[in-house]
């Protein structure tokens, strides 16, 4: 498992270095591993850091107890997970993702509404980018309906 993760990290890093990314996506080039939480109780060990890209391990969907029910929870053979992230100030934030998982950013039981969706630059390893207007605070970031047991994620402030 460790070897697979290392190979994954290495290949993603190498992959990203071949591409000229916009300044706000520079952090995508170096990844650290974070395992997803299965429920809110495990969130302390599943923290993402703003502007730091993470290579994340996901969990088979039936084992996850989401904080808020995702619109697209995914089937029994899909993957997802729960993370926590601190948003220090209000603004527009971008969630950058290596696969096409459904993203929910939840605070006080409510999921933030996205304002823009895009794909990533070609050959960057970025599958989707979604922008949200967020207030300062601690958010639960839920990934659901993913095809893979691992992916990469970056949350960054763009405005």
């Amino acid at each position: 498992m460790r070897i697979i993760l290392l190979i994954g990290l290495l290949s993603l890093s190498l992959f990203a270095k071949e591409v000229d990314l916009p300044v706000e996506l520079n952090a995508w080039k170096s990844l650290s591993y974070v395992g997803a939480a299965k429920s809110a109780d495990e969130l302390l060990n599943a923290s993402l850091t703003l502007n730091n890209a993470s290579y994340v391990g996901l969990i088979n969907t039936p084992k996850i107890k989401y904080v808020t029910k995702p619109f697209n929870e995914g089937g029994t053979v899909s993957y997802g997970g729960i993370f926590e992230i601190k948003i220090p100030q209000s603004g527009i934030y971008r969630v950058v993702l290596g696969n096409a998982s459904w993203i929910d950013l939840v605070k006080d039981g409510k999921a933030a509404k996205s304002i823009a969706h895009n794909g990533g630059p070609q050959n960057s390893g970025i599958r989707k980018m979604v922008d949200y207007p967020l207030e300062a605070g601690i958010y639960t970031l839920q990934l659901s309906a993913g095809a893979d047991s691992t992916t990469a994620i970056l949350v960054t402030k763009i405005k």
Partner: protein
């Protein structure tokens, strides 16, 4: 006494007027096939990797469209056509953008589930996996037993698609502001919408193809004969891809305009980002060039076709209780 009789008559008339609607609503909530179909519509186990349900592309809040130009499949294959609305889909003889011999919604649902042009839910060759996954779930076993007692609740691709058809038949949109005003024989609320209505039905002749009340004539038309349609590397010849008849090349079914304000982007390939662009894209000979003001008036009219009941009715939404 006469006054009392009048009151009774009024109640009786009201009951007669509203009875069909109430009856249809009670049928919706109690029909086991509809209930099962609704669960299946929101179930991503109908896709190869569990990432995509029917509702992934057909979102209720967007009038059962998805807001993307085209939607990639579960395995990230490129989409081919813009997601069409499911409003009143059971009223159409021709289903999808360009097909003229599908037997019904059950057969149509096989296209996204196991179709290969394009690959959407990716189940081609893996159809048995659907029954296998659903059979492991006690809740689904019960739902199928209730929905198909004559078949002893057997879970097959056939019973899955029959249930999906039953749910999709309930997706009726007929309570827009336009419908309300028509029923009450009252004009639309703004001068702009009234002017747009006049243009739509008379001067601009939009109603010729976008025929009320479906706001589609359910027929195929060649709107852009001069273009070879290529998007995401996918060639789309429209109806001729199905009929193999060159005369049908670039023919597409008229889309319904109900809830059109919510169903952006437009055109069979999603190439028109706004309603303004979509109207301008029509290459029609109506002996009248629409001004910018007139197009905006038509848009004001089209906004009155938004049915808020349809996009918020909980009977069409994701079931609040999970099937586990």
């Amino acid at each position: 006494m006469i006054t009392n009789m009048n009151w009774i008559y009024r109640v009786a008339i009201l009951l007669l007027v509203f009875m069909p609607d109430l009856y249809s609503q009670s049928m919706q909530s109690s029909d086991p096939k509809v209930e099962l179909g609704r669960y299946l519509f929101y179930n991503a186990d109908l896709s190869i990797n569990g990432t995509m349900a029917c509702a992934t592309c057909h979102e209720q809040r967007r009038a059962f469209c998805d807001g993307n130009r085209v939607h990639p499949g579960a395995l990230d294959d490129s989409g081919k056509r813009n997601v069409p609305t499911l409003a009143n889909v059971s009223k159409f003889k021709n289903l999808t953008w360009a097909h003229n011999h599908l037997s019904g919604l059950a057969e149509q649902s096989l296209a996204p589930i196991r179709g290969t042009d394009p690959i959407e839910m990716g189940m081609n060759g893996h159809e048995d996996e659907i029954a296998k996954r659903l059979s492991q779930n006690e809740c689904y076993q019960k739902l199928f037993a209730r929905a198909f007692p004559e078949q002893k609740g057997v879970i097959t691709l056939s019973t899955v698609t029959q249930a999906l058809e039953s749910f999709e038949k309930t997706l009726i949109s007929d309570n827009s502001l336009y419908d309300q005003k028509m029923k009450a024989h009252k004009p639309l609320p703004t001068k702009e919408a009234q002017a747009g209505e006049k243009l739509f039905f008379k001067t601009a002749k939009c109603n010729t193809c976008h025929t009320a009340p479906l706001f589609s004539d359910d027929a195929f038309h060649q709107i852009e004969p001069e273009h070879q349609v290529v998007y995401n590397g996918m060639i789309d010849n429209g109806l001729s891809d199905v009929t193999a008849n060159q005369k049908d090349k670039n023919f597409f079914r008229t889309p319904s305009l109900r809830n059109v304000f919510l169903s952006y982007p437009y055109w069979h390939d999603g190439s028109a980002a706004t309603l303004f662009e979509a109207i301008r894209k029509h290459n029609l000979n109506i002996n009248h060039t629409l001004s910018k003001r007139e197009i905006n008036q038509i848009i004001a009219f089209l906004k009155t076709l938004t049915d808020n009941t349809f996009i918020t009715d909980p009977q069409f939404g994701k079931p609040s209780i999970e099937c586990k």
